[in-house]
Protein backbone atom coordinates (compact mmCIF):
# COMPACT_ATOMS: atom_id res chain seq x y z
CA UNK A 1 0.00 0.00 0.00
CA UNK A 2 2.97 2.30 0.47
CA UNK A 3 3.41 3.07 -3.19
CA UNK A 4 -0.23 4.03 -3.56
CA UNK A 5 0.11 6.68 -0.89
CA UNK A 6 3.40 7.79 -2.42
CA UNK A 7 1.91 8.36 -5.88
CA UNK A 8 -1.09 10.14 -4.37
CA UNK A 9 0.94 12.47 -2.20
CA UNK A 10 3.46 13.12 -4.97
CA UNK A 11 0.68 13.88 -7.44
CA UNK A 12 -0.93 16.30 -4.99
CA UNK A 13 2.36 18.11 -4.45
CA UNK A 14 2.90 18.29 -8.19
CA UNK A 15 -0.44 20.01 -8.66
CA UNK A 16 0.20 22.48 -5.87
CA UNK A 17 3.75 23.06 -7.14
CA UNK A 18 2.54 23.90 -10.64
CA UNK A 19 -0.08 26.27 -9.25
CA UNK A 20 2.24 27.89 -6.76
CA UNK A 21 4.55 29.18 -9.45
CA UNK A 22 1.64 30.66 -11.38
CA UNK A 23 -0.45 33.75 -10.75
CA UNK A 24 -4.20 33.95 -10.40
CA UNK A 25 -6.56 34.13 -13.35
CA UNK A 26 -8.34 32.09 -15.98
CA UNK A 27 -5.39 32.12 -18.40
CA UNK A 28 -2.96 30.94 -15.74
CA UNK A 29 -5.34 28.22 -14.64
CA UNK A 30 -5.47 26.97 -18.23
CA UNK A 31 -1.67 27.00 -18.49
CA UNK A 32 -1.31 25.01 -15.28
CA UNK A 33 -3.83 22.43 -16.47
CA UNK A 34 -1.90 22.13 -19.73
CA UNK A 35 1.40 21.68 -17.88
CA UNK A 36 -0.05 18.91 -15.75
CA UNK A 37 -1.63 17.27 -18.78
CA UNK A 38 1.69 17.28 -20.64
CA UNK A 39 3.45 15.70 -17.66
CA UNK A 40 0.81 13.00 -17.64
CA UNK A 41 1.29 12.53 -21.38
CA UNK A 42 5.00 11.72 -21.00
CA UNK A 43 4.34 9.40 -18.09
CA UNK A 44 1.58 7.64 -20.03
CA UNK A 45 3.86 7.13 -23.01
CA UNK A 46 6.51 5.56 -20.82
CA UNK A 47 4.09 3.51 -18.76
CA UNK A 48 2.53 1.82 -21.78
CA UNK A 49 5.94 0.49 -22.88
CA UNK A 50 6.05 -2.44 -20.51
CA UNK A 51 6.61 -6.12 -21.10
CA UNK A 52 3.13 -7.37 -20.38
CA UNK A 53 1.63 -4.54 -22.37
CA UNK A 54 3.53 -5.77 -25.41
CA UNK A 55 2.41 -9.35 -24.87
CA UNK A 56 -1.20 -8.39 -24.46
CA UNK A 57 -1.20 -6.23 -27.53
CA UNK A 58 0.50 -8.85 -29.69
CA UNK A 59 -2.54 -10.98 -28.91
CA UNK A 60 -4.78 -8.09 -29.74
CA UNK A 61 -3.26 -7.36 -33.12
CA UNK A 62 -2.98 -10.95 -34.17
CA UNK A 63 -6.75 -11.23 -34.14
CA UNK A 64 -7.73 -7.80 -35.22
CA UNK A 65 -5.18 -6.95 -37.90
CA UNK A 66 -7.63 -7.23 -40.75
CA UNK A 67 -10.81 -6.12 -39.10
CA UNK A 68 -12.38 -2.71 -39.19
CA UNK A 69 -10.51 0.15 -37.58
CA UNK A 70 -13.00 0.77 -34.85
CA UNK A 71 -12.69 -2.76 -33.50
CA UNK A 72 -8.93 -2.29 -32.88
CA UNK A 73 -9.75 0.96 -31.23
CA UNK A 74 -12.42 -0.53 -29.01
CA UNK A 75 -10.07 -3.28 -27.85
CA UNK A 76 -7.40 -0.74 -27.09
CA UNK A 77 -9.90 1.34 -25.11
CA UNK A 78 -10.94 -1.77 -23.21
CA UNK A 79 -7.28 -2.41 -22.49
CA UNK A 80 -6.96 1.12 -21.12
CA UNK A 81 -10.04 0.57 -18.96
CA UNK A 82 -8.88 -2.74 -17.57
CA UNK A 83 -5.14 -3.31 -17.51
CA UNK A 84 -3.84 0.21 -17.75
CA UNK A 85 -6.23 1.57 -15.12
CA UNK A 86 -5.46 -1.37 -12.81
CA UNK A 87 -1.73 -0.75 -13.15
CA UNK A 88 -2.03 2.88 -12.12
CA UNK A 89 -5.09 2.96 -9.85
CA UNK A 90 -5.47 -0.66 -8.68
CA UNK A 91 -8.99 -0.83 -10.02
CA UNK A 92 -10.77 -0.91 -13.38
CA UNK A 93 -12.90 1.72 -15.06
CA UNK A 94 -16.50 1.12 -14.01
CA UNK A 95 -18.23 1.99 -17.27
CA UNK A 96 -17.14 2.46 -20.91
CA UNK A 97 -19.46 4.02 -23.45
CA UNK A 98 -18.91 4.85 -27.09
CA UNK A 99 -20.77 6.20 -30.06
CA UNK A 100 -18.71 3.95 -32.34
CA UNK A 101 -17.54 7.04 -34.15
CA UNK A 102 -14.39 7.77 -32.20
CA UNK A 103 -15.80 9.14 -28.95
CA UNK A 104 -15.40 7.14 -25.75
CA UNK A 105 -16.49 7.99 -22.23
CA UNK A 106 -14.68 6.25 -19.37
CA UNK A 107 -16.50 6.46 -16.07
CA UNK A 108 -14.78 5.84 -12.76
CA UNK A 109 -17.21 5.95 -9.85
CA UNK A 110 -14.53 6.10 -7.17
CA UNK A 111 -11.57 7.81 -8.77
CA UNK A 112 -8.56 7.13 -6.58
CA UNK A 113 -7.21 10.66 -6.67
CA UNK A 114 -10.52 12.12 -5.52
CA UNK A 115 -11.87 9.66 -2.94
CA UNK A 116 -10.14 11.34 -0.03
CA UNK A 117 -11.18 14.80 -1.11
CA UNK A 118 -14.93 14.79 -0.84
CA UNK A 119 -18.06 12.70 -1.26
CA UNK A 120 -20.23 15.18 -3.08
CA UNK A 121 -19.92 18.81 -3.92
CA UNK A 122 -17.31 20.18 -1.52
CA UNK A 123 -14.07 21.20 -3.32
CA UNK A 124 -15.74 20.52 -6.71
CA UNK A 125 -14.23 23.63 -8.26
CA UNK A 126 -10.71 22.31 -7.65
CA UNK A 127 -11.34 18.83 -9.02
CA UNK A 128 -10.22 19.60 -12.57
CA UNK A 129 -6.68 20.32 -11.35
CA UNK A 130 -6.45 16.79 -10.01
CA UNK A 131 -7.71 15.23 -13.22
CA UNK A 132 -5.41 16.96 -15.71
CA UNK A 133 -2.44 14.65 -15.13
CA UNK A 134 -4.62 11.57 -15.61
CA UNK A 135 -6.08 12.96 -18.85
CA UNK A 136 -2.52 13.27 -20.11
CA UNK A 137 -1.78 9.76 -18.88
CA UNK A 138 -4.56 8.35 -21.06
CA UNK A 139 -3.57 10.49 -24.05
CA UNK A 140 0.09 9.43 -23.71
CA UNK A 141 -0.75 5.75 -23.46
CA UNK A 142 -2.97 5.92 -26.53
CA UNK A 143 -0.39 7.94 -28.43
CA UNK A 144 2.25 5.23 -28.17
CA UNK A 145 -0.31 2.68 -29.27
CA UNK A 146 -0.70 4.71 -32.41
CA UNK A 147 -3.87 6.58 -31.50
CA UNK A 148 -4.02 10.36 -31.49
CA UNK A 149 -6.67 11.76 -29.21
CA UNK A 150 -7.93 14.58 -27.08
CA UNK A 151 -8.83 13.68 -23.51
CA UNK A 152 -10.94 15.80 -21.19
CA UNK A 153 -12.51 15.09 -17.83
CA UNK A 154 -15.58 16.18 -15.96
CA UNK A 155 -16.80 15.74 -12.40
CA UNK A 156 -20.33 16.42 -11.21
CA UNK A 157 -20.20 14.68 -7.87
CA UNK A 158 -17.02 13.43 -6.24
CA UNK A 159 -15.45 10.95 -6.30
CA UNK A 160 -17.12 9.86 -9.55
CA UNK A 161 -15.68 11.30 -12.75
CA UNK A 162 -15.83 10.81 -16.50
CA UNK A 163 -12.94 10.93 -18.96
CA UNK A 164 -13.92 11.72 -22.52
CA UNK A 165 -11.59 10.48 -25.26
CA UNK A 166 -11.99 11.91 -28.78
CA UNK A 167 -10.02 9.96 -31.35
CA UNK A 168 -8.42 12.17 -33.99
CA UNK A 169 -8.68 10.73 -37.46
CA UNK A 170 -5.24 10.85 -39.08
Amino acid sequence: MADEALFLLLHNEMVSGVYKSAEQGEVENGRCITKLENMGFRVGQGLIERKNTVLLLVDLFRFTKDTARFKDELDIMKFICKDFWTTVFKKQIDNLRTNHQGIYVLQDNKFRLLTQMSAGKQYLEHASKYLAFTCGLIRGGLSNLGIKSIVTAEVSSMPACKFQVMIQKS
Binding site: L9, N12, Q116, M117, A119, Y130
Partner: protein, 145 residues
Protein backbone atom coordinates in the same frame (compact mmCIF):
# COMPACT_ATOMS: atom_id res chain seq x y z
CA UNK B 1 -22.68 4.16 27.58
CA UNK B 2 -21.83 7.00 25.33
CA UNK B 3 -19.30 9.35 23.77
CA UNK B 4 -19.54 12.96 24.92
CA UNK B 5 -17.09 14.75 22.67
CA UNK B 6 -13.84 14.50 20.72
CA UNK B 7 -10.86 16.82 20.20
CA UNK B 8 -8.10 16.46 17.65
CA UNK B 9 -4.89 18.48 18.14
CA UNK B 10 -1.73 18.74 16.12
CA UNK B 11 1.85 19.04 17.30
CA UNK B 12 1.63 22.79 17.75
CA UNK B 13 -1.54 22.86 19.82
CA UNK B 14 -3.83 23.82 16.94
CA UNK B 15 -7.23 22.23 17.42
CA UNK B 16 -7.81 20.49 14.10
CA UNK B 17 -11.26 19.26 14.88
CA UNK B 18 -13.84 19.24 17.64
CA UNK B 19 -17.16 17.38 17.67
CA UNK B 20 -19.68 16.81 20.42
CA UNK B 21 -22.47 14.30 20.71
CA UNK B 22 -23.71 14.48 24.29
CA UNK B 23 -22.50 17.42 26.28
CA UNK B 24 -24.82 18.67 28.96
CA UNK B 25 -22.52 21.26 30.47
CA UNK B 26 -20.34 23.81 28.73
CA UNK B 27 -17.01 24.99 30.11
CA UNK B 28 -18.14 28.58 30.54
CA UNK B 29 -15.27 29.95 28.46
CA UNK B 30 -14.87 30.64 24.76
CA UNK B 31 -14.13 27.72 22.51
CA UNK B 32 -10.67 29.05 21.77
CA UNK B 33 -9.86 29.21 25.47
CA UNK B 34 -11.28 25.77 25.98
CA UNK B 35 -8.97 24.29 23.35
CA UNK B 36 -5.98 26.06 24.86
CA UNK B 37 -6.91 24.78 28.30
CA UNK B 38 -7.31 21.23 27.07
CA UNK B 39 -4.03 21.24 25.19
CA UNK B 40 -2.12 22.84 28.04
CA UNK B 41 -3.49 20.36 30.51
CA UNK B 42 -2.57 17.39 28.32
CA UNK B 43 0.92 18.72 27.88
CA UNK B 44 1.37 19.08 31.63
CA UNK B 45 -0.14 15.72 32.50
CA UNK B 46 2.06 13.91 29.99
CA UNK B 47 5.18 15.41 31.43
CA UNK B 48 3.99 14.84 35.01
CA UNK B 49 3.17 11.20 34.33
CA UNK B 50 6.53 10.48 32.79
CA UNK B 51 8.43 12.19 35.62
CA UNK B 52 6.51 10.72 38.53
CA UNK B 53 5.97 7.22 37.23
CA UNK B 54 7.25 4.70 39.80
CA UNK B 55 7.83 2.16 37.02
CA UNK B 56 9.30 2.30 33.54
CA UNK B 57 6.81 3.91 31.20
CA UNK B 58 5.12 1.93 28.48
CA UNK B 59 2.44 4.01 26.83
CA UNK B 60 2.51 6.97 29.15
CA UNK B 61 -0.65 8.89 29.85
CA UNK B 62 -3.64 6.97 28.54
CA UNK B 63 -6.76 8.12 30.40
CA UNK B 64 -8.13 9.85 33.49
CA UNK B 65 -11.52 9.58 35.07
CA UNK B 66 -13.74 11.55 37.38
CA UNK B 67 -16.93 10.40 39.08
CA UNK B 68 -18.93 11.34 35.97
CA UNK B 69 -16.75 10.90 32.86
CA UNK B 70 -13.54 9.42 31.49
CA UNK B 71 -11.06 11.19 29.23
CA UNK B 72 -9.14 8.95 26.82
CA UNK B 73 -5.91 10.11 25.22
CA UNK B 74 -3.90 8.87 22.24
CA UNK B 75 -0.82 10.51 20.76
CA UNK B 76 1.12 9.60 17.63
CA UNK B 77 4.87 10.04 17.13
CA UNK B 78 4.04 12.96 14.84
CA UNK B 79 2.34 14.77 17.69
CA UNK B 80 -1.29 14.29 16.61
CA UNK B 81 -3.42 13.97 19.76
CA UNK B 82 -6.84 12.35 19.84
CA UNK B 83 -8.86 13.11 22.99
CA UNK B 84 -12.21 11.50 23.61
CA UNK B 85 -14.54 12.01 26.58
CA UNK B 86 -16.82 9.10 27.29
CA UNK B 87 -18.87 7.96 30.23
CA UNK B 88 -17.44 5.68 32.87
CA UNK B 89 -18.57 2.36 31.40
CA UNK B 90 -16.05 2.52 28.58
CA UNK B 91 -12.79 0.53 28.87
CA UNK B 92 -9.48 1.07 27.05
CA UNK B 93 -10.13 2.29 23.51
CA UNK B 94 -6.63 2.81 22.15
CA UNK B 95 -7.53 0.96 18.97
CA UNK B 96 -10.56 3.18 18.39
CA UNK B 97 -8.48 6.34 18.77
CA UNK B 98 -5.83 4.85 16.52
CA UNK B 99 -8.46 4.12 13.88
CA UNK B 100 -9.61 7.73 14.04
CA UNK B 101 -6.06 8.77 13.35
CA UNK B 102 -5.12 6.29 10.63
CA UNK B 103 -8.33 5.59 8.76
CA UNK B 104 -9.90 9.02 9.09
CA UNK B 105 -7.34 11.74 9.73
CA UNK B 106 -4.54 10.30 7.56
CA UNK B 107 -6.81 9.11 4.76
CA UNK B 108 -9.10 12.09 4.52
CA UNK B 109 -7.04 15.02 5.72
CA UNK B 110 -3.37 14.28 5.19
CA UNK B 111 -4.09 12.84 1.77
CA UNK B 112 -6.43 15.63 0.80
CA UNK B 113 -4.41 18.31 -0.97
CA UNK B 114 -7.11 20.87 -0.28
CA UNK B 115 -6.78 20.48 3.50
CA UNK B 116 -3.73 22.46 4.55
CA UNK B 117 -1.98 20.84 7.50
CA UNK B 118 -1.84 22.84 10.68
CA UNK B 119 -5.31 24.36 10.26
CA UNK B 120 -8.80 23.40 11.38
CA UNK B 121 -10.15 20.71 9.10
CA UNK B 122 -12.81 21.98 6.69
CA UNK B 123 -13.46 18.75 4.88
CA UNK B 124 -17.11 17.71 5.03
CA UNK B 125 -16.12 14.18 4.17
CA UNK B 126 -13.92 13.95 7.26
CA UNK B 127 -16.62 15.37 9.49
CA UNK B 128 -19.32 13.03 8.23
CA UNK B 129 -17.16 9.89 8.24
CA UNK B 130 -15.97 10.63 11.77
CA UNK B 131 -19.55 11.14 12.88
CA UNK B 132 -20.69 7.85 11.32
CA UNK B 133 -17.75 6.03 12.86
CA UNK B 134 -18.43 7.33 16.35
CA UNK B 135 -22.11 6.52 16.06
CA UNK B 136 -21.26 3.00 14.96
CA UNK B 137 -19.14 2.28 18.03
CA UNK B 138 -20.53 -0.37 20.35
CA UNK B 139 -20.28 1.96 23.32
CA UNK B 140 -22.13 4.81 21.67
CA UNK B 141 -25.81 5.04 22.33
CA UNK B 142 -28.04 7.70 20.90
CA UNK B 143 -29.49 8.44 24.30
CA UNK B 144 -27.01 9.82 26.81
CA UNK B 145 -26.31 7.91 30.06
Amino acid sequence: MTVHNLYLFDRNGVCLHYSEWHRKKQAGISQEEEFKLMYGMLFSIRSFVSKMSPLDMKDGFVAFQTSRYKLHYYETPTGIKVVMNTDLGVGPIRDVLHHIYSALYVELVVKNPLCPLGQTVQSELFRSRLDSYIRSLPFFSARAG
